[in-house]
Symmetry: C2
Subunit: 356 residues, 2 copies
DNA sequence: AACGTCAAAGAGACCGGTCTCATCTCGACT
DNA sequence: AGTCGAGATGAGACCGGTCTCTTTGACGTT
């Protein structure tokens, strides 16, 4: 069955049609399963196709149909367990619906994200799932929407973008977790995020471009204010963009005159570094320091002590975003939907009464 | 700048040409940067393009050039930290070289993998990076190669496929780690892998389809044999395909009359479950049980005790595969290259002398 | 027998780019 | 001045599908 090995130039409908002794149009009908074709001809064509090992050229098909069968996905960093799990959710749903996924990492960089959108637009993806790095700078997304491209936002919304959005109730989770820490007597609670500001200092939540994180910080600050705490803004640390940055920030923080008694890590990568640093400094969790991390990463349950986390429905976040998008692509959706999935707080042994 | 908002039908070169008052061919030349165009015309065309917000249709371009600018990547499971890191390596290199990545999970299922290759072939990807589930069943890959599609193999090779291949020296790592365990006095060493056999029992390494794992097991068995151990085959356990499976297997193993004194986990997901089970059973690592895991996942360094691992150059595995593929796509490569990257054994506190 | 209907098949335009080939213009060289 | 060559542009084929429009012919009806 390898006689035709040297064939490198691809087989087209015209070839199949010729071999089957019918016109190109008829062969296309038989192969494409549209129009009317007699059984006899259909068999002849499929036989010819099989013999020639014909494979339809999706590109050419996309050309005329205007549908490429692909979804563009732009996430911060596929290496981050949060995103890899979300992408798993997306790809599972997409494949089920007959779509393939083009994946691009933005590195949480606005410029890279814009370029990614441009690339995907040029590739004529049927739809877009984006986790925008900055909720304010979404002009490139507006543009995509304007050109008629269905868009779904993942984990981060945007007030100015009226499109399908799937987020978790991060504000609520942050409020809850902060309340618990305060109830445990903590008054020096630090919040640590990878999001950065131009001068690497935090002043107001408005400066935080990443929506999910902004909402968490707002929740955190709100509860602190409610509890009568002041100057909480100074306990928010930004710019933990690499493990090295995080280690430096955490080390300084813990060695200062007024070290925090509790730390909330905005993602599991940061949480992991906090855990490593506390060890290196010879501190004890939860005796000297309480730790809460966003994202129930695998490591959080096997440390000593295991870490209290906000368990986000990450897989569902991705799967739901894909589901909304696919429905829209199939014309089943009308007005944009905003889905908010529930977080769950998993209280483990890394949180305890503040001692002081 | 939004006057042209209602434009949903896309702008083509013909539109730009018309607006600039030149022929389609000339406009295409100016926009595509090929052929010769006078400065005056070039400016007129680019101005018209900007004004109409022209975006080239990559699909149409691919149609004639025969290059789609995409690389198809098929991995077992993007949720697995091993693959997400490798994919990060791939996407970084691919983007650098101007390629985008279509990602498909095979779930380590041969049928799904074959379907994935078919899809990618239809989408006319320029090249393929695959981590084949089974090194024997590669007919679908042969077919891809036969049709002239450049292919690079990731983490798993195949003797019958003479293509660019990037693997780590897993056999060597397995030999080393086994030797160390034996030197520590272990004689009941279990090896645990997700790869499965039809009857879920292990007999010979030949039954293991996943090349990297087969080489590890061969290394493991070889060293055991060298050391005069017999019946080692019975200590190899297959089918740890989900956390639940793994927990069941490990629990049974540890509660049997002859429990292992050391376990080698074939990947970090399995290693994690072993760690969880030993805890649940109230055992102590390394007092009751030594543990070694393949893949230096983030959690392995923060457990108590931290886990001895085989640190695989995962990012480089992906990056190198992409590099080889890109070079081939650029016509710089001649004969297929087989790259073997070095593993490193990171000895931590989870391994100790067998007691008794 | 004449006509209408409808399934089946063919011819060819089209999608939006690239690219070959022909034409035209203009400066340089003999 | 006439010829040559290179640069600039236009016309149109082409990639491999889809899809519309037209033609053909078998069958049923009155």
């Amino acid at each position: 069955m390898d006689q035709s090995s040297p064939r490198n130039t691809s087989v087209t409908v015209a070839d199949v049609a010729h071999k089957a002794g019918v016109s190109k149009a008829t062969a296309a009908r038989a192969l494409g399963g549209y129009g009317t074709v007699s059984d006899r001809v259909r068999e002849a064509v499929t036989a010819a196709a099989r013999e020639l090992d014909y494979r339809p050229n999706e590109l050419a098909r996309s050309m005329t149909t205007g549908r490429s069968g692909t979804i563009g996905v732009v996430v911060g960093d596929i290496e981050n367990p949060f995103f890899s799990l979300a992408v798993r959710g997306i790809t599972d749903v997409a494949r089920q619906a007959g779509f393939t996924v083009i994946l691009i990492n933005s590195g949480e960089d606005f410029v890279a994200e814009r370029a990614a959108i441009g690339t995907l637009l040029a590739k004529r993806v049927d739809g877009l799932i984006v986790s925008p790095a900055k909720e304010n700078d979404v002009e490139h997304l507006h543009e995509a929407v304007r050109s008629g491209l269905p868009l779904a936002l993942l984990d981060r919304g945007s007030d100015t973008l009226d499109v399908d959005t799937v987020i978790a109730d991060d504000r609520h989770a942050a409020e809850n977790i902060t309340r618990r820490l305060i109830a445990l007597g903590h008054s020096r609670i630090a919040y640590l995020t990878a999001c950065d500001t131009p001068d690497h200092r935090f002043r107001t939540a408005k400066d935080i471009g990443t929506g999910s994180v902004r909402r968490r910080i707002e929740g955190f600050l709100g509860v602190c204010r409610e509890a009568g705490m002041i100057g909480t803004e100074d306990w928010v640390h930004v710019g933990a963009i690499t493990p090295e940055h995080t280690q430096r920030i955490v080390t300084e923080m813990l060695q200062s005159a007024q070290p925090p008694t509790a730390i909330i890590a905005s993602d599991s990568i940061i949480g992991l570094e906090v855990f490593k640093v506390h060890r290196r400094l010879g501190l004890s969790i939860p005796d000297d320091l309480s730790l809460v991390s966003f994202h129930d990463a695998d490591w959080t349950s096997v440390t000593t002590p295991p870490v209290t986390v906000v368990r986000q429905p990450v897989y569902d976040l991705g799967a739901t975003a894909a589901k909304l998008l696919v429905e829209r692509l199939n014309g089943e959706a009308q007005t944009p939907r905003k889905v908010v999935l529930k977080n769950e707080i998993v209280e483990r042994a890394s949180t305890r009464e503040a001692r002081f």
